[in-house]
C-alpha cells in the first residue's frame, strides 16, 4: 500500500512539474515579487539649521518611516503572489484532476490498492506544496536581493503560512469545480472566471473587509502591516482566517464526497 502510494506521489509529481511548467511558475512568481517589491518609496524632510537645528529628530523620524516602509515593501509581494495563485491554481488543478480523467491515468491509479481518499490527499497536498514552496522561495530570494539587512525581515516568513491558506482556499474550490465538470477546458474556464470575479471583489474597497479576507487572506496581512500590528489581534484578521479555514474544510469535504462517488 505504502509502495503504491509512493508510486502515485512520484507519478503525480512528475506530471505536475515537468519542464517547463515548474520553471514557468517559478519565473512568473519571481517576476510578480520583483514588480511588487521594486515600487520605489520616498520620504520628505527639511533641515533647518541655526538655533532650532532639528537633525536628530529628523533622523529618528526618517529611520522609523524607513523601517515601516521596508516592512511594507517586504510584505507587498505577498499580495502579488496571492493574485498569481488565481492563474496557477486553476491551471494546476486542471492538470492534476481533469487531465488524468481525460487521458485515463486516473483509471490506472484506481486499479492500485490505494484508497481514493489517499489519491485525493496526494493531489491536494502536492498542488499546495508546490505553489507554497515556490512562492515562498521566490519571495525570500527577492527580499534577500533587494532589501538591505534582509535578515530582520526573515521573521515575516511566518506570514507565508497565510499564503498557504490562500492557496488552499483556491485549490479546494478549483478541485471541486474540476471534479464536477470533468473537462479540462470547462474547469479551467470556470476556475479562472470565478477567481477573476473574486479578485475584483477583493480589491474593491466597497467590499467589507471580512469578505475580502475570506477569499484573499493575504490582504489582511498586508493591511495589518500597513496600519500597525495591533490590527492583527482584532477580529478583522482572526475571523476571515477562521472563515477561510472553514471554506477549505467544507470544499475539501465536498471534493472527498464527489471523488468517492465519481465514475471514471
Amino acid at each position: 500500500m505504502r509502495k503504491n502510494l509512493r508510486a502515485i506521489i512520484a507519478i503525480e509529481f512528475e506530471n505536475m512539474v515537468y519542464f517547463p511548467i515548474l520553471e514557468g511558475i517559478i519565473c512568473l512568481l519571481v517576476f510578480f515579487c520583483f514588480s511588487a517589491l521594486t515600487a520605489s518609496f520616498a520620504q520628505d524632510f527639511e533641515i533647518i539649521t541655526g538655533s532650532v537645528y532639528n537633525g536628530t529628530t529628523i533622523e529618528t523620524d526618517i529611520l522609523e518611516d524607513i523601517q515601516r516602509l521596508n516592512i511594507q515593501q517586504a510584505v507587498n509581494p505577498l499580495q502579488a503572489l496571492s493574485v498569481a495563485y488565481f492563474f496557477f491554481v486553476p491551471l494546476l488543478s486542471t492538470l492534476t484532476i481533469t487531465r488524468p480523467i481525460e487521458d485515463g491515468t486516473l483509471r490506472a491509479y484506481l486499479s492500485f490498492p490505494v484508497s481514493r481518499s489517499s489519491i485525493l490527499m496526494v493531489k491536494f497536498l502536492l498542488v499546495n506544496l508546490i505553489l507554497w514552496v515556490t512562492s515562498t522561495g521566490s519571495w525570500i530570494m527577492v527580499v534577500a536581493l533587494l532589501l538591505p539587512g534582509y535578515q530582520q525581515y526573515l521573521s515575516l516568513i511566518v506570514w507565508s503560512l497565510v499564503l498557504l491558506l490562500n492557496c488552499m482556499v483556491i485549490t479546494s474550490t478549483c478541485f471541486l469545480i474540476s471534479m464536477l465538470s470533468k473537462q479540462s477546458g470547462t474547469s479551467l474556464f470556470i476556475g479562472l472566471g470565478l477567481w477573476y470575479v473574486l479578485t475584483v471583489l477583493a480589491s474593491s474597497y466597497n467590499t467589507p473587509i471580512q469578505l475580502r479576507g475570506l477569499f484573499f487572506p493575504a490582504i489582511i496581512v498586508w493591511l495589518s502591516v500597513q496600519y500597525g500590528s495591533s490590527y492583527v489581534l482584532t477580529g478583522e484578521l482572526i475571523l476571515p482566517i477562521l472563515g477561510a479555514i472553514a471554506i477549505v474544510i467544507l470544499a475539501y469535504s465536498a471534493c472527498h464526497i464527489v471523488f468517492k462517488k465519481m465514475e471514471v
Binding site: 517547463p20 520553471e23 514557468g24 520605489s40 520616498a42 524632510f45 527639511e46 539649521t49 515593501q73 533587494l146
Partner: protein, 160 residues
C-alpha cells in the same frame, strides 16, 4: 541540466524585471539660504533627477548615501561629507542621470546658491535597467549556462 535551465530562465526574468519602468517620486521644497530640504529615497541603481526652480533662481543639489546623510543630520553641516553627486549653481532647472552604486537608501538635498528662498519642484525617477537587479540577473544566467554546459559535457563523456 534542469537546474541549469531553470537558472537561465530565472536570470532572464530578473533581467526583464530590471527593465521595468520605475515610477517617479518627487515633490516640492521651499528652502531658505543656509538651510536644506529634500527627500530620502530608495534606489535599485541609477536614477534620473529632474528639478525646476519656480522663479529660475540658482540652487545646488547634493545626492548622498544613507551614511553620509546620517552624518549631516548628526552634525548639521555639509562639510566633511563625500556626496555621490553634486550639482552646484544650477540655474533654473536640471535633468540628469545620477550613477548610483546599487540598491540602497539615498538622500537628495536642495539648497539655495545665493541668499534667497528657493521653491523647487523635483522628481527622482528610477533609470532602467536597474543595475541592482540586472547584474545579479546576468550572474544567474551565467551560472545556469555553466551548469547546462557541464551537464552536457558529462553526458557526452558518459556516452563515449
Amino acid at each position: 541540466m534542469r537546474i541549469g535551465r531553470a537558472l537561465i530562465l530565472i536570470g532572464i526574468v530578473m533581467i526583464a524585471a530590471s527593465l521595468l519602468g520605475g515610477s517617479g517620486r518627487g515633490g516640492g521644497v521651499n528652502v531658505r539660504y543656509g538651510e536644506c530640504g529634500g527627500q530620502v529615497f530608495k534606489a535599485y541603481g541609477n536614477v534620473v533627477v529632474e528639478a525646476e526652480e519656480f522663479y529660475n533662481r540658482s540652487f545646488s543639489i547634493y545626492i548622498l548615501t544613507w551614511s553620509s546623510f546620517q552624518y549631516i543630520l548628526e552634525n548639521g553641516s555639509l562639510e566633511d561629507v563625500d556626496p555621490v553627486a553634486i550639482f552646484e549653481k544650477v540655474d533654473g532647472s536640471v535633468e540628469t542621470i545620477v550613477e548610483l552604486s546599487g540598491t540602497g537608501i539615498y538622500a537628495i538635498l536642495f539648497t539655495p546658491y545665493f541668499d534667497e528662498i528657493i521653491l523647487i519642484d523635483f522628481q527622482v525617477i528610477q533609470a532602467t535597467p536597474r543595475t541592482g537587479i540586472l547584474l545579479p540577473g546576468i550572474g544567474v544566467v551565467m551560472i545556469g549556462i555553466v551548469v547546462v554546459v557541464l551537464s552536457v559535457l558529462s553526458k557526452w563523456r558518459y556516452s563515449r
